[in-house]
């Protein structure tokens, strides 16, 4: 038999002025199960709490109803008080008779009636409350960072700094990402390599950091604090532990006609290669698509010249399994493919390039050793046209609906650098809007316009046509002057939109994290939890969450690291006990709950059951991981059989409240 105590708070006159608290206490004292019903001036005060605690002990209460202010104010206060008197804190219910009653009603009679009904609903609910215990689950003190660009590197360094082991998984043969390909950075124009490569080295030398280059995440199981991740180390046909990075193999390799990805295919590399001089790890990789030995068994030069015997043509993909407490996603971005943009002649004219290609063309380690030359005839360009928003802010399906955010600034940078180094070059920039929010950004852009005389034209480029004389006709409209322009250009640079890396979506599925329609990872809250995914223990770093420049990326990387460190610091995680649970005997195994769970908290397994007719059956049933479930209840409604229910807000509890209110 339930023994319920009701405690009605006056809240000074906040409640008592419009609600007859004595009448409420009296009315509720007649409810079934209620053994004590009292009112008091300030229930949340020390002495008010004492009153509750004493009543719990004196009457051996099995449930407590506090009629007071919003549970958002003092639910925790009263739960703690109950716990200290030996009553399970989840046997306390609050009837909100202040914010939702006394403060909004003026008529004492109707406010009192309503307060009584709210109290009755709480009594009806508390009858069905079950004692709940917050569970704990241990935390593996190791983090995984997926992606080894500047975001991943920064996150790994920060986590390592706090003393935790952290692994970086990078799909390319080297870490460094897009930043390694960039020449200079805005708005300071310092050399990207000069600030990035020391960090790469620092990562490789940090005792807490393990770099898995040329590797991919192939499976993720588990939950916050306890993920089990399978990492696929792709065969690079070179023993990483032996290779010294001397580069002799790359010099001797006879297969020299492989498009060099690092230089955006603007020059060639060998079949065995090290992407760039400062690569980390500085280890060669054999490209099996081009290596003669791997393709038809005829060559073997690299193996012969390697003095340490690192070449291993028989190497296969290896899978390693590792446990992690936290996972940080830093999968970055790529410029979109421009093959659908025939109007800009990108596919047919080598002198129409993307901005990232321009970075390589201008880079000292690039195909032209830093001298800006036209890819077609290696001559110096005198007129360069930049086209902004190619595929960004785009309504049709070719492009992306969003602003890629970085293009305005890097274009200003490019324009400025070209005007600085080649003052005889005319530079035109066609833009929709110039967007320069950020520290020193607008000043930077204005310098390009005012100091470097870059021609910024608000308008659209309609068509780019290569001409027989090697020049390029750029047909455009100047919206401000309201006229059509034809520019006789030598080069055209397209600011291609950026999009999340293609590996992100399958990864999101493995991680059970959410993505938006553009495949950017969705943060748990756009304002308040911007570096966490909605799935506990999964954090977001860099452009995988949305377009970002380097300073923002680094800031978010450190923020993600801080969140991960916060998790790894704990020995165990206390779980919210108000989570869903499945009655296995009723579960059909239909997976509806699994599909609506935003956290991936529900898994299915085949279990053996003894059926009522004494036979044994294997049934597929759902189970909820209480460490992962956040208690939203979406699954409870998706479940047709009612097998899924929610602690603290069970079907029967809510229906009891409904009944009490409608009585």
């Amino acid at each position: 038999m339930q023994r319920i105590g009701v405690f009605v708070c006056h809240c000074g006159t906040n409640i008592a002025a419009t609600v007859d608290v004595k009448a409420v206490a009296e009315a509720l004292s007649h409810e079934p199960g209620v053994v004590v019903s009292q009112d008091y001036q300030y229930m949340c005060s020390e002495s008010g709490q004492e009153l509750v605690k004493n009543a719990i002990k004196e009457h051996g209460l099995t449930g407590v109803v506090i009629c007071s202010c919003s549970p958002r104010m003092h639910e925790n206060t009263f739960r703690k008080a109950a716990a200290s008197a030996g009553l399970n804190p989840y046997l306390v219910e609050i009837a909100n008779i202040r914010e939702q009653c006394s403060w909004i009603h003026k008529d004492i009679a109707s406010a009192t009636d309503k307060a009584i009904i709210l109290g009755k609903a709480a009594v009806a609910k508390v009858h069905l409350n079950a004692p709940l215990t917050a569970g704990e689950s241990p935390v593996v003190k190791r983090a995984l960072v997926i992606g080894g660009g500047i975001a991943g590197i920064q996150t790994a360094l920060d986590i390592a700094e706090a003393g935790f082991d952290v692994d970086i998984v990078e799909k390319e043969p080297t870490i460094g990402g897009k930043m390694a390909q960039i020449d200079k950075t805005f708005p300071t124009l310092d050399c990207a390599a000069c600030i990035l490569t020391p960090k790469m080295v620092e990562a490789s030398q940090n005792e807490h950091i393990t770099i898995h280059s040329f590797s991919e995440v192939s499976d993720v199981k588990g939950f916050v604090g306890n993920f089990t991740v399978t990492i696929k180390k792709k065969a690079r046909y070179v023993d990483e532990t032996k290779c010294t990075g001397c580069g002799l193999c790359t010099e001797k390799c006879p297969m020299k006609k492989v498009p060099n990805e690092f230089n955006m295919g603007l020059d060639n590399r060998t079949a065995v290669y090290i992407p760039f001089a400062q690569a980390v790890p500085k280890v060669a990789t054999i490209d099996p698509n081009y290596c003669m030995m791997l393709k038809n068994g005829k060559c073997g030069v690299c193996s012969k010249v390697c003095s340490v015997g690192a070449i291993d043509y028989k190497q296969t993909d290896k899978f390693i399994e590792q446990k992690y407490g936290a996972i940080v996603v830093a999968t970055g971005f790529n410029p979109i493919k421009l093959d659908k943009y025939d109007e800009f002649a990108y596919s047919c004219c080598p002198d129409v390039v993307t901005s990232l290609e321009l970075e390589r063309l201008m880079n000292a380690a690039g195909p032209n050793g830093g001298t800006l030359l036209r890819p077609s005839d290696k001559t110096h360009p005198h007129t360069i046209v930049f086209v902004q928003c190619v595929g960004s802010r785009c309504d049709d399906e070719k492009g992306k609906p969003y602003c890629s955010k970085i293009c305005c600034m890097y274009t200003a940078k490019h324009a400025m650098l070209i005007r600085e180094k080649y003052p005889d070059t005319e530079v035109y920039v066609f833009y929709i809007d110039v967007r320069t929010p950020g520290k020193n950004f607008d000043e930077f852009y204005r310098r390009a316009v005012e100091q470097y005389n870059v021609h910024y034209i608000k308008g659209m480029v309609g068509k780019v046509t290569p001409k027989a004389d090697g020049k390029i006709d750029v047909q455009a409209s100047d919206l401000l002057a309201n006229e059509q322009l034809h520019i006789n250009a030598d080069m055209v640079v397209l600011a291609a939109a950026i999009e999340p890396d293609k590996t992100a979506r399958p990864l999101a599925t493995m991680l059970t994290t959410q993505m938006d329609t553009n495949d950017f990872f969705t943060e748990a809250h756009p304002k308040l939890r911007p570096v966490e995914s909605a799935t506990a223990g999964i954090f977001l770093s860099g452009a995988c969450q949305g377009p970002k420049d380097i300073p923002e990326t680094v800031a978010q990387a450190s923020a993600a690291a801080a969140k991960a460190i916060g998790l790894l610091c704990k020995n165990s995680i206390t779980c919210n006990p108000c989570v869903a649970h499945s009655d296995e005997l009723m579960c059909n195994g239909c997976s509806a709950c699994e599909k609506v769970c935003p956290y991936g908290a529900i898994t299915y397994q085949d279990k053996e059951f003894r059926m009522p007719d004494r036979s044994t059956a294997i049934r597929r049933v759902a189970s909820v991981n209480p460490a992962v479930c956040q208690g939203c209840g979406a699954c409870t409604v998706a479940c047709p059989s009612g097998a899924m229910d929610l602690n603290g807000f069970s079907n029967s509890q809510i229906m009891a409240e409904v009944d009490a209110i409608c009585k």
Partner: protein
């Protein structure tokens, strides 16, 4: 014999309805009939029988038994029994008329079910002889003559006139109460009509069905038959057969909490349901085979064992036409009977 011409039937209905509630079979859709409370102008259905049986009049699907009122922490029990009003059910067929006898054996034996008895006492059953049986009819299997339908008053139709024959004091009173509308008539054609119907009964596809292989003495043999598995394998466990059946009489008693009190009611239950016989310790029949077997064993073995050989089926054929998968007592009997 007293008679009324077909054209005057509604005048008779109007007269009966003046004093008592009258129920007659009415078409809901062409040839789909149900009992309706008579209102002037309604036409009696020509369909052979109603979709639902006539047992509802005495044993309704749900019925309140008692009420509890809670005020604060005290409970007050209310007896809600009250005397029923008199009513007449017109047009009951022989099979359904027989079913009341079967229900009586259950509800009127000690302890007497006062709710049922109350309705029985106040109801007058006016039956209607069959002239055009359907292929699903097999009442003769259970010794029923559909041309002599029983009830308080039997009514026979010769194509022009309805003839009335009272069988009980209640029936006599009924006929007397409407005698001014009736006239003496020549019933000579009736014998021919009855003979004709009996001959049709002999030609029906199920005419040869016999109860010889059934009865209380065959309990163990039938219970242990290996035929049940095959017979029950397609059964979905719905309650259609039991709910259209005129003789199924199982019920459940439940409490409904209205928020202001409790209403204790009974409602039909079906032995085909998975929670039938569910008790505190569990369920004694956990497979559909056991539940399916129960229904037919009850009608063909247990009931006759306890009721002087009377079977718990009247051959109305409703389950034959309504079972979603066309499994029925005829198929069961044919599978189990001595070959």
């Amino acid at each position: 014999m007293l008679k009324i011409s077909a054209s005057n039937l509604n005048a008779l209905f109007d007269r009966i309805a003046e004093k008592q509630t009258l129920y007659i079979p009415v078409d809901r859709e062409p040839n789909v009939s149900e009992y309706k409370k008579y209102e002037s102008g309604m036409t009696m259905s020509k369909a052979l029988n109603t979709v639902r049986s006539a047992k509802d009049f005495f044993f309704p699907q749900t019925e309140n038994l008692a009420e509890f009122k809670m005020s604060g922490k005290t409970i007050e029990v209310k007896d809600i029994r009250k005397e029923n009003e008199d009513f007449v059910v017109f047009g009951v067929r022989a099979c359904d008329a027989r079913s009341f006898g079967i229900l009586d054996k259950v509800f009127l034996s000690e302890p007497v079910d006062s709710f049922y008895k109350n309705r029985r006492d106040h109801g007058t059953i006016v039956t209607m002889a069959c002239t055009r049986p359907a292929e699903t009819c097999f009442c003769t299997t259970f010794g029923i003559d559909p041309t002599v339908p029983g009830g308080d008053v039997s009514v026979f139709f010769d194509g022009e006139n309805y003839f009335f024959l009272d069988n009980t004091p209640k029936g006599e009173a009924f006929v007397a109460s409407v005698s001014d509308l009736l006239e003496n008539g020549d019933a000579s054609k009736l014998a021919e009509v009855q003979e004709n119907a009996r001959n049709i009964m002999k030609k029906l596809p199920l005419a040869g069905l016999s109860t010889d292989s059934f009865g209380g003495e065959r309990l163990m043999e039938h219970f242990n038959s290996d035929k049940w598995a095959e017979l029950s394998e397609s059964c979905f466990g719905c309650g259609t057969c039991t709910f259209v059946c005129p003789t199924c009489q199982c019920y459940d008693i439940r409490d409904f909490d209205t928020g202001n009190g409790i209403k204790r009611f009974r409602c039909w239950d079906s032995c085909m349901y998975s929670d039938f016989t569910k008790m505190a310790h569990g369920n004694s029949r956990n497979s559909q085979l056991e539940r399916f077997r129960q229904r037919f064993m009850h009608k063909l073995v247990y009931f006759p064992a306890n009721n002087d050989g009377e079977f718990g089926c009247v051959g109305c054929g409703r389950c034959l036409s309504k079972c979603p998968i066309s499994m029925n007592i005829v198929k069961v009997m044919k599978a189990l009977e001595d070959k």
